[in-house]
């Protein structure tokens, strides 16, 4: 069993070797003529304004925290899923094991889902939704002309 992981290690080593070889080959081949203009940060052709390290809303952080908790829950489910349907355990308990296991997981996930429901009800899972603005141009074209065109091209569908 342990030698399998040795092979994983080999895989990682070979992958690193491939990446390193490509990078080194690239380094040898490519031209390197830096100048100040090239090395500026890209900002749509303008001179960059300030530093990019701006502060983000803490809401991203809350999502990450909730994610960590559910990830741990998920990892508890992995061993559960392997023992849940085992025939010998079911046979030992006259078929009660499966329902029992399902029940205990229901309680576990149910309690955690309460947390999700709390966040949901309180609106922490809601993200700012862009409100489409209706443009109010002073159109010289009468609106019924659009209507006519729309109808013309939608009728033969």
């Amino acid at each position: 069993m342990y030698s399998d992981f040795g092979q994983i290690l080999l895989f990682i080593i070979v992958a690193i070797a491939i990446i390193g070889a490509i990078l080194i080959a690239n380094k040898i081949i490519r031209p390197n003529l830096p100048n100040e203009e090239k090395l500026t940060t890209y900002e749509s052709g303008e001179d960059p304004v300030g530093n990019a390290n701006v502060q983000f809303n803490a809401r991203f952080y809350v999502v990450a925290l909730v994610f960590v908790l559910f990830e741990v829950e998920l990892l508890f489910l992995f061993p559960w899923a392997t023992v849940f349907g085992r025939p010998e355990l079911i046979a030992q308990t006259n078929g009660r094991w499966g329902w029992f296991a399902l029940g205990e997981m229901l309680i576990f996930v149910g309690i955690l889902s309460l947390g999700l429901a709390y966040a949901w009800v309180k609106g922490y899972l809601d993200w700012i939704r862009p409100e489409p603005k209706k443009p109010d141009y002073a159109l010289k074209i009468p609106k019924d002309l659009y209507q006519k065109i729309n109808q013309k091209y939608s009728t033969h569908r």
Partner: protein, 383 residues
């Protein structure tokens, strides 16, 4: 260990990497050809017949491009980002069971990099590390577009990872094993998991799209809003690494989907083919030929998966960020939990396809919603 087993190991590693890299290289051509087909144009056709040398030309271009690291950037992390991305993409292929076994001089060799009895956890672990490449690269660039791309990548990946894991749980409940080879062997013939786990399949595929950052989930690199997203500042082979790792991820995730839901190297009528081949060509050769056919079957599924990725790219428009988070947290996540309970109840009652009930309910809900929805109005008419 003796020399022969070392050689076999080396051959397997080289073979797995060669196959993955080759497929990823030609996926770039396929992407452009399929895009061309969908948009009624030719796609690349100058380099060689039908443009078959286009990937080579692209690679040469990548190698010869000048590479610069912005003065504001964090140099080492700027280099580490794409390398990590590439490394995590390459590592997943190690545990995929590509085929049954090959018999060669009294030895039985599994067509697989490594057989782990926690194979699916390995895949899941590497997927959870995949976000670092984008985060580090985007942050190290010290560019506003890159930073926004990195934030988006991170929050998108973590939002879809849980639903992904929960849909894997439903598979393990019926398989009772975390080994990918066991899961494949249980789908012998045509007993594929997709027929028992339709909801899990849909959730898994959606999450795979999100984890690969493919359209409709390509917000981290969305060119209409963020120029190039997390790889705005990258050029030359480092950009190549980012793009290449996306194609590798695409192929690998198609293979994982095939392994978990579409029977892996199993195909209908495989027992009949096996019996015929062993009768025709003898035990050893027949077995090896049958393995080859299974390998091709898996390959076909994987390539179809890659095609599906590209098909969706030109069919479904990109999500908005709030839609993306809503889909992950409010739709897929509860649905995945529901799926687990239906699977469990189904296993207990002896109905393996119990989750079809969810599909039925969802279809009815969607249909009633569609009927109830107000008719669409066209733009200037409702001003």
């Amino acid at each position: 260990m003796d020399t022969a087993s070392w050689i076999i190991k080396a051959l397997i590693i080289v073979g797995v990497f060669a196959v993955t890299l080759l497929i990823a290289t030609y996926s770039t051509l396929a992407e452009r050809k399929i895009a061309g087909f969908m948009q009624d144009r030719l796609g690349p056709d100058r380099a060689g017949p039908f443009g078959v040398f286009q990937p080579l030309a692209d690679a040469v271009k990548m190698f010869f491009k000048e590479d610069f690291i912005p003065a504001q950037a964090n140099k080492w992390l700027f280099i580490a980002g794409p390398c990590l991305s590439m490394l995590t993409a390459l590592m997943t292929s190690a545990v995929i069971p590509f085929g049954d076994t090959i018999r060669y001089e009294e030895q039985t060799i599994a067509v697989q990099g490594v057989e782990l009895n926690v194979g699916i956890l390995y895949v899941f672990g590497i997927v959870s590390l995949g976000v670092y490449g984008l985060m580090i690269g985007g942050w190290a660039s010290n560019n506003k577009f890159s930073l926004l791309g990195a934030v988006r990548a991170a929050s998108q990946n973590i939002s879809y990872e849980i639903a992904l894991g929960l849909s894997i749980i439903a598979i393990i409940m019926s398989a009772g094993s975390l080994s990918l080879r066991d899961i494949v062997n249980q789908q012998h013939g045509f007993a594929w998991n997709i027929f028992y786990q339709p909801v899990g399949f849909i959730i898994f595929v959606t999450c795979a799209f999100a984890e690969c950052n493919r359209t409709p989930f390509d917000l981290p690199e969305c060119e209409t809003e963020l120029v190039g997203g997390y790889h705005t500042e990258y050029s030359s082979m480092k950009l190549g690494f980012y793009l290449f790792s996306e194609y590798i991820n695409m192929f690998i995730s198609s293979l994982v989907v095939s392994t978990l839901y579409l029977g892996g190297f199993n195909y209908p009528g495989m027992d009949w083919v096996y019996a015929k081949l062993t009768a025709l060509a003898g035990d050893t050769t027949g077995h090896n030929l049958a393995t080859l056919i299974g390998f091709l079957a898996l390959f076909f599924k994987g390539l179809f998966g890659v095609f599906f990725f590209m098909w969706v790219r030109w069919t479904v428009p990109r999500f908005r960020f709030d839609q993306l988070m809503d889909l992950g947290w409010k739709a897929l996540f509860p649905l995945a939990i529901l799926n687990i309970f239906f699977t469990g109840a189904g296993e207990m009652l002896g109905y393996h396809g119990f989750t079809w009930i969810i599909v039925g309910i969802m279809t009815i809900l969607a249909a009633t919603n569609a009927v109830k929805a107000p008719p669409r109005k066209m733009y200037p008419a409702d001003v």
